[in-house]
């Protein structure tokens, strides 16, 4: 209700015309902000009056627009162009910086990537060598344990006709009959062959196979556990075709020794 009275008073028309005092202007602005209804009314009045006056405009040539623009550029040109130049300069500068930045980042990125790959390779290698070191250490420990065991009798097997420089040692625990073979003095078996260990009984001479020295190359310490040999009186090592033989090939006897 109050708003309607306010609107109908005609003050809004004078507001649009620009005929109000400063205080009255502020008052109307405040009212317009508070009441959408009043603001809408002001907009309608303005539209009406713009329409009316526009309709009464004499012909206005395009020349005027051109002239105004010329005048503005004459008086404002410096500021305007300077400003826009500065802005576009900053735009370009930023573009260049960006490009450099991206190039730099890309370069960094690829460097880091190859570094990562290298590090990963190194890591793998280290891991492998660690594992092999551990295996080696374990083998050495085992070998040492065998050598140190006081219950073990050491039997030296001397080289025979086929390979006089060869030798081997057998660690034989008489109580448990456990047998370890130290084959460090034997040459590497040729491809397709394997050393076979025999426990011997002397009277009569009966060889019993107690195992093959498999994986000769990878066993760094060349200490092999073989089967138990109860009551063995001697040990022999022959070279046999892969998989071993049922009875020793005497021509290929590499080492032999008595308990």
């Amino acid at each position: 209700m109050e708003n309607t009275t306010y609107i109908e008073s005609g003050i809004l028309e004078l507001y649009v015309y620009g005929l109000l005092s400063e205080e009255e202007n502020l008052e109307v602005s405040r009212m317009a902000k508070k009441h959408g209804e009043i603001n809408d009314e002001i907009l309608s009045i303005e539209r009406a009056i713009v329409n009316l006056s526009t309709s009464f405009s004499p012909f206005l040539s395009a020349e005027n627009f051109k002239k105004i623009r010329e005048k503005l550029e004459l008086k404002h040109g410096k500021v305007v162009t300077l400003k826009s130049n500065r802005t576009s300069y900053i735009g370009w500068a930023a573009a260049v910086l960006l490009l450099i930045g991206f190039a730099y980042q890309y370069n960094e990125h690829s460097q880091r990537r190859s570094e990562i790959v290298n590090a990963q390779n190194e890591n793998t290698q280290l891991q492998e060598s660690l594992v092999s070191s551990e295996i080696k250490a374990k083998q050495t420990e085992d070998a040492l344990a065998v050598v140190r065991d006081v219950n073990n009798t050491v039997i030296s097997l001397g080289g025979q006709a086929v390979s006089p420089t060869s030798y081997a040692k057998v660690y034989y625990n008489k109580n448990t009959a456990v047998v370890y073979v130290d084959a460090a003095g034997l040459p590497e078996p040729p491809q397709g062959h394997v050393y076979q260990v025999w426990a011997l009984k002397l009277n009569p001479l009966t060889p019993t196979s107690i195992g093959l020295l498999e994986d000769f190359k990878s066993q760094q310490q060349r200490i092999f556990a073989v089967e138990r040999a109860n009551g063995a009186e001697g040990f022999g090592i022959t070279l046999e075709p892969a998989g071993g033989s049922k009875s020793p090939t005497m021509e290929q006897l590499y080492a032999l020794g008595k308990v």
Partner: protein
């Protein structure tokens, strides 16, 4: 060139978000950031500008004007030049001089845009005042020291006879119809108050009506006008 600046703003924000690029951040300092913010704002306004184009209101136009964007100037000119030209012509009564004044007015608008703020009133009101004052200055410079004597010669309807009828043919037909419908009293009161910027007191003296009724009579006339224009 200018087109490049807008995507730059987006890219810049992207960089800001990537904390790791300290290398760039050190170079693009806060001062530059303001520039980018301005550009982003301009971009927003441009979007409004493009999407609404012909039906822009003052509320949408103002932020654009404040950036002194060249297209905003063109828009202001397209929207208001004829309206202002009618006001100026009605006061100055000389086509060539009116054109000079109009040019002067637009230069003033653009030069003084920073001094305008919405609490002072409508943007349109502000520029109409500049148009009226510039016209009166022009008259004074030509030796018309007595404002009243000169201003009371004709009302705005005479502009119809002066204007190029070939150009305004369709407009004038509609307007003639309207002028016939509008009460002579209304033409007089709108002419004095709006076109010539008379105070209520001056209008009351001129029309010999009580001071208190000037406002309400004008209101009634504007209502007639709005009914005719359907706004």
């Amino acid at each position: 060139m200018a087109e490049l600046r807008y995507p730059m703003a987006g890219l810049y924000l992207y960089i800001r978000s990537r904390q790791k690029i300290g290398f760039l951040r050190n170079r693009i300092d806060a001062d530059h950031f303001q520039n980018f913010a301005q550009i982003a704002n301009l971009l927003k306004n441009l979007f409004i500008f493009v999407s609404k184009d012909a039906i822009m209101t003052q509320e949408e136009l103002l932020p654009l004007i404040m950036t002194k964007d060249e297209r905003a100037f063109t828009h202001v000119y397209d929207m208001y030049s004829k309206s202002l030209f009618a006001v100026i012509n009605n006061l100055v009564n000389d086509r060539e001089e009116a054109e000079d004044v109009l040019q002067e007015v637009f230069v003033k608008i653009w030069k003084n845009i920073d001094s305008y703020n919405e609490s002072k009133g409508r943007f349109y009101t502000w520029i109409v005042n500049i148009a009226r004052n510039s016209s009166i200055d022009k008259l004074r410079s030509k030796g018309f020291s007595n404002k009243q004597k000169n201003l009371s010669s004709d009302n705005f309807v005479h502009l119809l006879d002066d204007s190029n009828k070939m150009v305004h043919k369709i407009d004038t037909i509609g307007i003639r119809e309207f002028v016939n419908k509008l009460k002579p009293k209304c033409i007089r009161i709108i002419d004095l108050l709006f076109f010539k910027g008379y105070t209520q007191q001056e209008a009351s003296d001129e029309l010999q009506i009580p001071l208190g009724t000037v406002k309400t009579q004008n209101r009634t006339c504007i209502n007639d006008l709005r009914n005719f224009l359907r706004v």
